[in-house]
């Protein structure tokens, strides 16, 4: 009964064009055991991917790698990373009998929902990416977030993959002595040449260090800005270049390859992994490029200081016309204080063409304090997009935006450039 009710809601919200979490919410209310029952038929591993940044990208890469090895994978690819998002995705793939046609489940969940999920279904594997300040009005504290990940590791049946470059994450190994632990991270041999992706100011002097890498641990070695390798002992994936740019994406690929190797065991192949990683496209909002009348328009989702800082270090110096759209709904984070934990100096040389969204003026004010010039301020997203694209017609453009601003911009862009399906993707 629960499945039928959920499927009906899903069809109804599809027609309405609504969000992805709602049908799952209905089914969760009707029958909370739905997750357990349906996932019981998945025997090749239930993998949870969580952490503050990179969940969606890593989940997409991990799913692609495992599929390329011939496994059927159930995943929630929509970035709707609450438990009811998992149920929503499940409802689209199961018959009314409730059977999920999959060997492996790869589930992206935020830190809080990952733990709630694990209370219902025991994951076999957990991939813990990183801990950063994010939406503190929701999770309150970074220490609390780190504890959520440690609890999740404790509830994982078999194997946990940890980030060896994030002390909040690798320290978790000590609290789960009975689990298999593997690590991913930057190859210690080149670590000095790679900038840190983590916030130093909330990480105190740590005497603890991760153990020396084993051949099961994936180690990232960037060759240049685009090319990199992932080394497992004497076996190497790459050199290869991803479609997505930046160090953060390389780290995500390393995390995904390390978990894929753990799930696939002896069947893991470096050549298959390399080939598939070359082809994975950027997920929703992670540096997607739209053809805007012959010119690239790049959409970059920004959610927290670490993510915005990495985005600026990846793109900031390029002489591309830039718009920043900041909303403050619940899904964006209602407290915009976090903008002051990001340095915008990379934008100083070329300035910002437009700030928009409900907090357009707060964003402009923030830029003002970093001596970045702002040409226009227009809180209304539609008017801002129109003015921005008109002023910079015939030039490459880039928009940094928070979650709900991105959802609105996608609808506007889909209508303007006739991109079928683009408005719905990511919901």
């Amino acid at each position: 009964m629960a499945i039928a009710a959920g499927k009906l809601t899903r069809a109804a919200t599809r027609i309405r064009g609504g969000g992805s979490a709602f049908p799952g919410l209905v089914a969760e209310r009707v029958d909370p055991a739905i997750l357990t029952r349906t996932l019981a038929s998945v025997t090749g591993g239930i993998v949870v991917v969580t952490g503050t940044n990179g969940k969606t990208t890593t989940t997409k890469m991990l799913t692609a790698i495992i599929r390329a090895h011939g496994r059927r994978v159930f995943t929630n690819p929509t970035g709707s990373n609450f438990t009811r998002g998992v149920i929503s995705a499940m409802l689209g793939q199961i018959g009314l009998a409730g059977r999920l046609d999959a060997d492996v489940a790869v589930l992206e969940l935020d830190e809080w929902h990952a733990l709630r999920f694990a209370e219902v279904v025991t994951p076999t594997h957990a991939l813990l990416l990183n801990v950063a300040r994010d939406q503190l009005d929701r999770f309150a504290e970074i220490d609390t977030t780190a504890r959520l990940l440690a609890d999740l590791a404790g509830r994982t049946a078999h194997l946990v993959v940890l980030n060896r470059d994030d002390s909040f994450v690798f320290r978790i190994a000590a609290s789960v002595p009975d689990k298999h632990i593997r690590y991913f991270g930057v190859d210690p041999q080149v670590a000095g040449q790679v900038p840190s992706l983590h916030e130093a100011d909330v990480r105190f002097e740590d005497r603890a260090a991760p153990p020396a890498p084993t051949p099961d641990d994936g180690l990232l070695r960037p060759v240049d800005g685009r090319d990199f390798t992932i080394r497992f002992g004497d076996r190497t994936v790459g050199p290869l270049a991803l479609r997505q740019r930046g160090l953060a994406a390389m780290v995500n690929a390393t995390a995904a390859a390390t978990m894929a190797r753990a799930v696939l065991g002896e069947d893991f192949r470096t050549d298959v992994t390399e080939a598939v990683l070359r082809e994975v496209t950027a997920p929703f909002g992670r540096g997607e490029v739209i053809d805007a009348d012959g010119q690239p328009l790049e959409l970059v989702l920004v959610k927290n200081p670490a993510g915005f800082t990495v985005a600026l270090s990846t793109y900031g110096n390029e002489p591309v016309a830039t718009m920043i759209a900041i909303n403050d709904d619940y899904a964006d984070g209602q407290d915009v204080s976090w903008l002051y934990d990001v340095s915008f100096e990379a934008l100083r040389a070329h300035g910002v063409a437009m700030t928009s969204g409900r907090r357009a003026y707060d964003m402009a004010l923030r830029l003002n304090y970093d001596e970045v010039t702002v040409e226009q301020i227009e809180p209304d997203l539609q008017a801002a997009l129109e003015a921005f694209l008109t002023a910079y017609r015939g030039q490459p453009t880039r928009i940094f935006c928070t979650y709900t601003a991105m959802m609105s911009l996608r609808r506007l862009l889909a209508a303007r450039f006739d991109l079928a399906g683009f408005a719905q993707e990511g919901q």
Partner: protein, 268 residues
Amino acid sequence: MSTPPSKGRIVLVHLYPREMSIYGDLGNTRCLAARIRRHGYECVVHDHHPGMPLPEQTHLFMGGGGQDSGQSRVEDDLAVIGDRLHGLASDGTPMVMICGMYQMFGHAFITHDGVDLPGLGILDVTTRGQSTRMIGGIVLDTGFGEVVGFENHSGATMLGSGQQPFGQVRAGFGNNGVDGTEGARTHNVIGSYLHGPILPANPRVADALIAAAAERATGRPFEPAELDDSVADEARIRQIRRLLSTSAKSAKSAKGAKSAKGGWVSSR
């Protein structure tokens, strides 16, 4: 073009930028330093870490919000520099202390389990840990006009009998969600729960602190330059209008519906 001569040198001390700076409070330091320079003064920003000595000359202090772990890391150091801070505060040194540091500038923080953690007692306030969190946008009437920000705290702070608040709450919770007060103000010390961060969008508060610092640094009255605050004013006025209209609506519906959710958060 040559730079005009500096009107004076102001030393701004950021207390515990690693341990007590998690909600963008660093923006207050960025704002103060930028405005000091724009007013024609030289600004030296001194990051004070636990165990380090304070500089001899100090004219302005900023402290932010932190996590429980951050607060326990600075308690010992506060005990060391406490007397000096007391002296400077009663002598008129301007200080802005936000959230966790505001609580620690009070007499005590009494945790959920009844443990009494002593504070500096520079402000006559006492804070009790609660299981509910007070989260949301907030608007105040203060001696510096309307002030807007974002609060996120579970500590409920009560003012001592003679203690002046920083402002009166027009939308939001304030010190405790009950008595309509927010923050505390003694001499030139301001304690407040307002993140946002508080100073960039409320430049009158920033300039009042800078004015007092400039006088102490130079022995002369503050000589402000004319700064263009139109973007800050627009940001503030728009947010105040929004919050006041939402709070008017929610006051009509269920009373107390805004109370913070969830009791699992351990932080202050």
